[in-house]
Symmetry: D2
Subunit: 351 residues, 4 copies
Amino acid sequence: MNKIKVAVIGASGYAGLELVRLLVRHPGCDLAALTSLEYPGIPFSQVFPALAGIVDLSFSPASGSEPEKIAAGAEVVFTAIPHQAAMGIIPRLLAKKGCKVVDLSADFRFREVGLYEKWYQAHTAPELLTEAVYGLPELHREEVRRTRLVANPGCYPTCVILGLAPLAQARLLQPDSVIADCKSGVSGAGRQTLLGLTFCEVNDGFRAYKVLEHRHTPEMEQELSRLAGTPVQVTFTPHLVPMSRGILGTLYASLTEPRAEGELRELYRKFYQGHPFVRLHPPGSLPDTRNVRGANFCDLALRVDEGGRRVIVLSAIDNLAKGAASQAVQNFNLMVGFPETMGLETPPFLP
Amino acid sequence: MNKIKVAVIGASGYAGLELVRLLVRHPGCDLAALTSLEYPGIPFSQVFPALAGIVDLSFSPASGSEPEKIAAGAEVVFTAIPHQAAMGIIPRLLAKKGCKVVDLSADFRFREVGLYEKWYQAHTAPELLTEAVYGLPELHREEVRRTRLVANPGCYPTCVILGLAPLAQARLLQPDSVIADCKSGVSGAGRQTLLGLTFCEVNDGFRAYKVLEHRHTPEMEQELSRLAGTPVQVTFTPHLVPMSRGILGTLYASLTEPRAEGELRELYRKFYQGHPFVRLHPPGSLPDTRNVRGANFCDLALRVDEGGRRVIVLSAIDNLAKGAASQAVQNFNLMVGFPETMGLETPPFLP
Amino acid sequence: MNKIKVAVIGASGYAGLELVRLLVRHPGCDLAALTSLEYPGIPFSQVFPALAGIVDLSFSPASGSEPEKIAAGAEVVFTAIPHQAAMGIIPRLLAKKGCKVVDLSADFRFREVGLYEKWYQAHTAPELLTEAVYGLPELHREEVRRTRLVANPGCYPTCVILGLAPLAQARLLQPDSVIADCKSGVSGAGRQTLLGLTFCEVNDGFRAYKVLEHRHTPEMEQELSRLAGTPVQVTFTPHLVPMSRGILGTLYASLTEPRAEGELRELYRKFYQGHPFVRLHPPGSLPDTRNVRGANFCDLALRVDEGGRRVIVLSAIDNLAKGAASQAVQNFNLMVGFPETMGLETPPFLP
Amino acid sequence: MNKIKVAVIGASGYAGLELVRLLVRHPGCDLAALTSLEYPGIPFSQVFPALAGIVDLSFSPASGSEPEKIAAGAEVVFTAIPHQAAMGIIPRLLAKKGCKVVDLSADFRFREVGLYEKWYQAHTAPELLTEAVYGLPELHREEVRRTRLVANPGCYPTCVILGLAPLAQARLLQPDSVIADCKSGVSGAGRQTLLGLTFCEVNDGFRAYKVLEHRHTPEMEQELSRLAGTPVQVTFTPHLVPMSRGILGTLYASLTEPRAEGELRELYRKFYQGHPFVRLHPPGSLPDTRNVRGANFCDLALRVDEGGRRVIVLSAIDNLAKGAASQAVQNFNLMVGFPETMGLETPPFLP
């Protein structure tokens, strides 16, 4: 098989590292270049000795004319850099004919530039927003196959949207009732050096943060509203768990009409039929972030209260995997015509 | 000062251990006896070498006529044993004139025997339910002062009730809107030997459990309904956090009338005035379970959404402290006429 | 390619689970059967929901005539059961012509039955000890290729022997000077339900155990003595680290003759040339168990004191991987003529 | 009782925080001032909300003429700032007649200025070295009582010296045989913002650092040599444990003459008689850092090999307590004539 040349821009963060771990063993591609602002010229395996003997590349600098060089040498580029930086580089990559991009930042996730600018800042490449596809393959598989620019979803939105999509599409979601109480491992904050992320400030503690003001909220609302055909509001509360990876979303909603648990389970089963990465728990069993660690799965379970009026959905993903890097590879597979699961078959990592 | 003789029945569990840690340094009492089903005759400090040189007692057996002996030798008895076992022993303790009991089990927490029997089992001492006082001093301080039997609240109920009491009393709580999404450290499950509690099954993972079926639900509903003057329903979801101690409750409710955040903060401030163990966070700051570790505090913060319709309260306690042992000591202090904070002054343990 | 049918006896412990994770994705084999004493008849993915959609087998019972049935249906059998149980079953497996066994217990690790019986108990299949090969491929690769019974090494011995083998073989090890101070994650104790392994008894603590009496000592001494050509004594101290996986050995020895650090590094480089799973750290860099997590690597570094008299070797493995399951797969690859690294290429799991 | 006014210079690090936690509840003193370079003018309880309602002071700036002001307002000053900074400030404090200082830095721990300058940098107040007392009260209690300047020992040296002192003094320690393999929780690195200390870089991992080059080595050697009456060399290897607090030292030494375990235990018992903070484990039991968490204890156990030639001592302390702040309070008590245990009676914190 002819291998596809790929590059990772921003390969020294946790999402970038996870991309490299996956791509270096992906049977359909060759790693052509890795960039880093912090470690230009330094061997990847010096920064990450875990990959010694596995990854032989050194980091490229990512500045100057490097983006053009990278686009020249790679057919698909993954950008795992902060928002704002991404929209500065991506038009330069796409300027090369045939180049495809999977962007892990927030820059191309919104259909309306106004929404982006309300939560982030001025957009410098709004012309790409119409062709960018929101890369949640369970909702947009066909569009992903045809686009050259995928906006890979945020970690929390992946967890929440997959957890509520079947209800939204079935018009069962009362639009002002949705509460997404989400809990994330620390790697969700990235490979950042902050006092609040040091071991002694996190270990053996639990806290909420950015209550009512987290930027992932409009992303959830955009996709759920689209599915529901009406504006859906999400009350979203993120929390920090003393663990490295994983997100559990506990999602609450009122139903527009009462439904039995079994009916909803059947609804979910049908909705996700043919989607190999969403697993529905059998009755009596609940998701645990440990069961999806390092894998591209989203595990779901649901409970309905006695009256059939309020539903609770539990949704578990690995924030670095289905919430970032492995979902990016899933999108890549679709964009280049590979089987959707290619290179994503390693079982979850436990214990 | 004349010291009060106290005993702990069930001193080898985590709540019992925490009671011993507090009582052995409490300036107003003397530890007269400690019992354990598992370690009869064995020195306390052999089971818990941390307390070597501090606690010199050995465990008493707790069987046969031991309860009567304990009642004979102690003025106040703490029972830190499972429900059902507690109601078997407590009437025997109270048979001694003047004996007072702080019970950490669920057996005397309900005012209606039917409610208890629906969630637990048949009650064998229902006659004591009318005199038992629900030992949340912030709500029942005066009754606690006068009773001989305090039913120390559950850990989750302490967190949730303190978090919502001001709203309930002010009739601001829409009675069917309350969601209590709670996260607990592992010691909440007690000092039990279960596969699901072993390190490798908990570490670096996060999961919900007993969704819609946890026995602490009716306790929350009893107290919030009493305050609200109308039946309040609570949708309660407990979760397990990979940490030893701490509970954070993220509490959601719709308001019966819109309110600004500042108004609610003022409501809370007044409600908890004169209650030294409830601390209200200033705007912009949020509770962390680390800040209450090992201490009798309940830390609260609140946020209101744009329309002033939905409130989010964050409530943090230490499940073994304010959620069990230190709250029991707070009740003890009130029952015997000591200052409420006596023996509870050690600052939170961090980092 | 014709796939080889394999079975795992004892697939519900942590080493068994890790074997299943590896074998189910191994391109050269088919999982024919999994047994468990505790979960006979139950689907593997019910016990381990992480593997739902990946492993479709149910557990076989492992009792009665099951061993013969398993041997009939599998060309290679992995036994991941306790010592003593293993030697009861393995002769029955080998009775089938052509059947090969990789045993993860201690039963066939010793060349002298007396040594085994001193540390364990009476041996019931001593006749197999002469043909069994100690499955440390870096020392015994050719014998492993030719045998039908591999005794897969213990986790601590793997760490310590690989760390000191070059010195032993070069006669540089002063035989009574060796100290192996080893630290292991909790999964090393297996998937056992013990109070001392529960989260609250392990979290945020560190302790030594079985000082001077751990059964892995004679295994280290057997192999190091063989290499050194003289009896080598090991003072071995195991410790428990609050983490799930990983062993770090800090190994101290006096040298028979002074050597510079560079000389020793060169000695190690040559010794492990052609052995893809041993990685020598460059000067200035030290192993971390995180860098080998989930992978078959042993990472080594060494330091020599000023006089060139005392050497400190740091040796890191994953106790469930190179210390158990992935080393078993490495042995399997050699026994059946596959490339040594087949199915073992997933990069270490981090962060 | 007349309370003694105390100040803490450097109260926003972990040792400073621990000092504040202890001093605010110490019955014999009043907190007069707290300084911080990073948070001048900010309320202590804003930086540490755990102490809200307990500590009402704001941080003083610690620059300009602040040291003189602090000395004017406090009888005893604790300096919990980095070495080099300490020796700049302490002479200014001692310039006030009657002022006493407990210094937690390394600046005054050495008797010979040359040794300090070899491992640290030029010393700017060498004239104070002769009057400074190495504040390990188990060795220097009487000198501590009489000095105005205590050099509070390092965390690792406290653990190692207490573990080997009885052997050194009895001339049983073979001077070139000592190996101190020590494992520390992360707070030992201080409240620093470093990538290597972030949760995801520490969690579920274990590593050695600064092998053969850690600055605590000469401190151990100074005290053990003094006791032994001959130069003792220590091979010291520090490791990082994924926990917040605690140090376990596994100490190896050859004996100059063979001794039975019981004889050595008796030697230790006598040596530490009258020292309330050193606890000797009974045979069959081993220290765990959890058992000393938050307390001023040093827990010891020892094992001797079959020939009575090699001894292994296990020594556990809390690095922030006996390894820093609570030992500083113990020294303070001695310096001002209080009972040695005053304010240090809170039992270890567990689970």
